[in-house]
């Protein structure tokens, strides 16, 4: 499907930075099936408390360190949902339990960055650039990844949800912005030829503004035609007969539809914020639990919305670092180190917690306070890109330069190949 038709679908506008346009990547060393594989990356900004999401209920240290905010053992009221006898899932993520049971949801615990920073901004920067410790990297790893996949000029291969293009997607390859929620679809001044032809003249030519302007105009022309049709709205609602999902699930439903209709769309980035629970984190209920609920529902919605395409899709969920093992004086947690990564999708060998669990004993804690890191986050991402997107090693090196591969052994079998 060509780009114009794709953009007609769901009110996309393209985002690009003032760099060279996307070029044809040499696809000689890629198997033909790779074009159908999809990757969705969800970033939880604010350092979500992984120890609450997949809690080590068999570890007595967990309960000793968190007298007020540990989630009760499985079986009790508001208790964890047991996963494998060692770990339990936060009850607010119950919508994801069927995926675990179907062996399509896996976790990598004690994953994270080799860089010790506890600054949200730096740590997110490193996770997005894919080069921890290095601040001079100009682009994001998803943009580099896009450059390593076979492309067709005019076809949209990557989308990012939200109005502002995040670091992880920035770079020379073209990534489209998808507006959140309901796209602005009513006709505007810029849709009138009298007006847009005047601006066309003004913005003709080179320069970053001109480029951005033309991309915007191209996309906008598609949006008006498609989204102002009442039929499109009805089709959205008829998809599953249920009322349209709210919040995050609305965006994942959009993404599912987008991916189903566009075989060329391989990469998607989404983000959710507000996980920085320094105060009154809550346990089975409370602040964190309330935020987890739409997240779980949204991901479950994505899986069901994709239908058979779920078998060709991998979703990775990550956060810049974890939180302190011990609760603080305000029934919350502070910035930590090791965290949880999630890997879900049809191709995933799920129903297992991967990685090497270091435990929460005092001697095992990083700097005496945080969960340690035993798997480098790039190892997980590289494993997914290599085995799922079928990227050979030399291309992976371009996406994650100088990645150490720490923890690779513990990820054995994560993806059925």
């Amino acid at each position: 499907m060509n780009r114009r038709a794709l953009l007609k679908q769901l009110g996309l506008t393209a985002a690009t930075l003032p760099f060279a346009r996307a070029h044809w990547a040499c696809a000689a060393d890629l198997p033909p099936a790779a074009g159908n594989k999809r990757l969705v990356v969800l970033m939880l900004r604010g350092a979500v408390d992984g120890l609450s999401l997949v809690a080590p209920h068999a570890d007595s240290d967990y309960y000793a360190l968190r007298p007020n905010i540990a989630i009760p053992r499985p079986g009790g009221a508001g208790g964890l949902l047991d996963l494998d006898g060692r770990f339990g899932l936060h009850p607010a993520l119950a919508p994801l339990l069927p995926l675990w049971q179907a062996r399509q949801l896996a976790f990598v615990h004690a994953a994270g960055s080799p860089d010790p920073t506890r600054s949200h901004f730096d740590a997110q920067d490193y996770m997005e650039s894919g080069t921890p410790g290095v601040k001079s990297t100009g682009d994001g790893w998803m943009n580099r990844l896009l450059g390593q996949l076979p492309q067709q000029p005019g076809a949209l291969a990557a989308v990012s949800f939200g109005p502002v293009l995040p670091r992880i997607c920035s770079g020379p390859q073209s990534v489209a912005n998808v507006p959140l929620g309901r796209a602005a679809s009513r006709p505007t001044a810029m849709d009138r030829p009298e007006i847009n032809s005047a601006f066309d003249r003004m913005y003709a030519g080179a320069g970053s503004l001109g480029e951005a302007y033309r991309e915007g105009r191209r996309s906008r022309q598609e949006i008006l035609a498609e989204l102002s049709e009442p039929a499109a709205m009805e089709a959205q609602q008829a998809d599953n007969g249920a009322p349209p999902p709210q919040g995050y699930a609305q965006d994942t439903a959009q993404l599912a539809r987008l991916m189903q209709r566009n075989p060329r769309l391989q990469l998607a980035f989404m983000q959710l914020g507000g996980w920085d629970t320094h105060v009154n984190q809550g346990a089975a209920d409370g602040q964190l639990a309330r935020r987890l609920q739409p997240l779980g529902e949204g991901l479950a919605q994505l899986a069901s919305g994709l239908g058979p395409l779920w078998n060709d899709t991998v979703v990775v969920v990550m956060s810049e670092f974890g939180r302190t093992a011990r609760e603080n004086g305000n029934h919350g947690t502070d910035h930590g180190h090791g965290n949880l990564m999630w890997v879900l999708g049809g191709p995933v060998a799920g129903g297992k917690v991967y990685g090497e669990w270091p435990g929460l004993a005092a001697a095992a804690l990083h700097e005496g306070r945080d969960l340690a890191v035993t798997t480098d986050f790039r190892t997980v991402l590289a494993r997914v890109c290599g085995q799922h997107l079928r990227l050979p090693d030399r291309r992976l090196d371009a996406v994650f330069p100088r990645a150490p591969g720490t923890g690779a052994a513990q990820l054995q079998g994560l993806l059925d190949t």
């Binding site: 007006i195 601006f199 003249r201 959710l272």
Partner: protein, 521 residues
């Protein structure tokens, strides 16, 4: 004088003074940077007085008298006069408790708090557009962003926005940095936003239960964002020590409920009276004075001088600030004991600030774009809702930055195709006189009582309704294109001029406000 000015303009950039920019070009540049762009007549005034004199004028806002109309409009916003304690009593948690479980009563509490927040936003935009003390408004926005608090954090934050800006930011925007630092550290809005109000020395009570706990959030951001910068040479241990020093820096709702009005209180019961070592300096556990001493130390640090100078140079000169300029500003900061006015003077008199390569090069942030468009258009704004809507749509909701690091001001952060199209729609609506900027104050819709769903902060304010709903009373007349041209001077390229000349006259105002040159400053 007007004819002389026109001749200067017609001769264009060729007729430049020895240092590279003509007098009108210097005037436009200084209005674009120290102010939110020119308003009608400003270009003439500043060209006549000279850019240097304008800089001096703007660096002394205490001598600038606000126009009576602006004063009257601000005075009409009643909640703006209240202090944090009174705001808390009337609109904060006590009001919510009084509403109990009654949904209608709770909704009223939300609406009242929203009205307070809306008044804060209205006041901010009124000043940004109409205040003659423009540099003070530019710096107020800069420092608010530097010491960011997020309107969505809770009921308290929503109702304290204007009080925070009025008490802790605007009065010190051009003073000594140490004063800004102290005022923000002691303000309930900051104490609440970064949780320091709860931070307490851990101890065991008589039953052997542990009580209290240190909260490091504020201490970390105080060093990382507000002063030294992320590479400023502090360690995790320093963060903890600073947090210990600042225990007890709080506010006391129970005092407020008994009629007390002091916004800040040092609560010895929360304070860690042990000795500390911060950045290699020893701090005896004496009490409140430790915190003041810590702030002194941070404000005077060369790392802070460099960090702030870098940020100011980025804001006023270039996304990649020239290192030599940053160095000179750093030195000036240290020489003047952190006098912001002096550092800015160094900046505004620097060769870098005036070089042709650094004029018209910065891409306007959504805030700068919307405010400069309203100023240039000459429109009399009574309803800022369309402007607030635009800011939301462009991803920069007013007082809506969720994270303490505030908004960026670079092209990379803000330029994308979606944004360009939206700005042009806004420019066209403004230029064609279609924005309902005169509509009497409309209350914003009520957001949920619950904490926001985990999605990026976006439109909690609905987009402006369809044009057909408003009568002509709500819309000011479209800006006169000739007047707009005079207001803006001659920043346009040959290509833009050709497009303007080729277009229908009634579109010219929209085209000027949407031109590539107007997107930059």
């Amino acid at each position: 004088m007007r004819h002389a000015l026109l001749i200067l303009l017609l001769l264009g950039p060729g007729w430049a003074l020895a240092d590279g920019l003509s007098a009108p070009q210097k005037a436009l540049h200084v209005l674009d940077r120290l102010a939110y762009g020119p308003r009608s007549g400003e270009l003439e005034r500043v060209t006549a007085m000279g850019a240097e004199a304008y800089i001096d004028e703007q660096l002394a806002p205490e001598k600038i008298v606000p126009p009576p109309q602006l004063r009257a409009q601000l005075d009409a916003l009643d909640s703006l006069r209240l202090g944090p304690a009174e705001l808390f009593r009337r609109y904060g948690p006590p009001a919510r408790r009084a509403a109990g479980d009654d949904p209608a009563a709770r909704k009223q509490v939300q609406q009242a708090a929203n009205r307070v927040a809306e008044q804060a936003m209205q006041a901010r935009l009124l000043r940004a557009v109409y205040s003659p003390a423009q540099l003070q408004e530019v710096m107020t926005d800069f420092w608010f962003n530097h010491f960011n608090v997020f309107r969505g954090k809770g009921l308290e934050e929503r109702i304290w926005l204007a009080a925070y800006e009025r008490d802790a930011i605007r009065p010190y925007a051009l003073s000594r940095f140490r004063q800004l630092l102290g005022a923000t550290a002691r303000h309930p809005a900051m104490l609440y936003y970064l949780d320091n109000w709860q931070s307490t020395v851990p101890r065991t009570d008589r039953f052997g239960d542990s009580k209290g706990g240190l909260n490091e959030n504020y201490a970390r951001e105080l060093m990382e964002l507000h002063t030294l910068g992320v590479d400023g040479g502090y360690t995790q241990k320093d963060v903890t020590e600073l947090a210990r020093i600042l225990t007890g820096w709080t506010y006391l709702p129970r005092d407020w409920m008994e009629g007390g009005n002091a916004p800040f209180a040092f609560e010895p019961k929360r304070h860690d009276f042990g000795d500390k070592t911060l950045l290699g300096m020893r701090f005896d556990g004496s009490g409140e004075a430790e915190g003041e001493r810590a702030l002194d130390l941070l404000a005077r640090s060369p790392a802070t001088a460099h960090h702030l100078s870098w940020q100011l140079a980025q804001y006023f000169v270039a996304d990649e600030p020239p290192p030599a300029l940053v160095e000179r500003m750093t030195k000036r900061y240290l020489q003047s004991d952190g006098d912001i006015r002096e550092v800015l003077r160094t900046l505004f008199h620097s060769p870098e600030f005036w070089s042709a390569g650094y004029t018209g090069n910065k891409f306007k942030t959504p805030y700068q774009y919307v405010v400069s468009a309203l100023r240039a258009s000459g429109v009399e704004v009574r309803n800022f809702r369309p402007a607030l809507s635009a800011l939301n749509q462009l991803g920069m909701p007013l007082y809506g930055c969720q994270t303490p690091d505030g908004w960026k001001n670079t092209e990379a952060a803000w330029l994308n195709p979606d944004a360009m199209v939206y700005r042009l729609n806004f420019a066209t609506a403004l230029g064609a006189g279609r924005l309902p900027l005169l509509r009497p104050e409309a209350t914003l819709p009520v957001p949920d009582d619950e904490p926001p769903a985990p999605r990026p902060m976006n439109a909690s304010i609905n987009a402006a309704p369809a044009e057909a709903e408003f009568g002509d009373d709500d819309r000011p007349p479209p800006p006169d294109p000739d007047l707009l041209q005079d207001t803006l001077g001659h920043p346009f390229s040959a290509q833009t001029v050709a497009a303007l000349d080729a277009a229908r006259p009634r579109l010219r105002a929209a085209l000027m406000l949407g031109s590539p040159e107007f997107m930059r400053h």
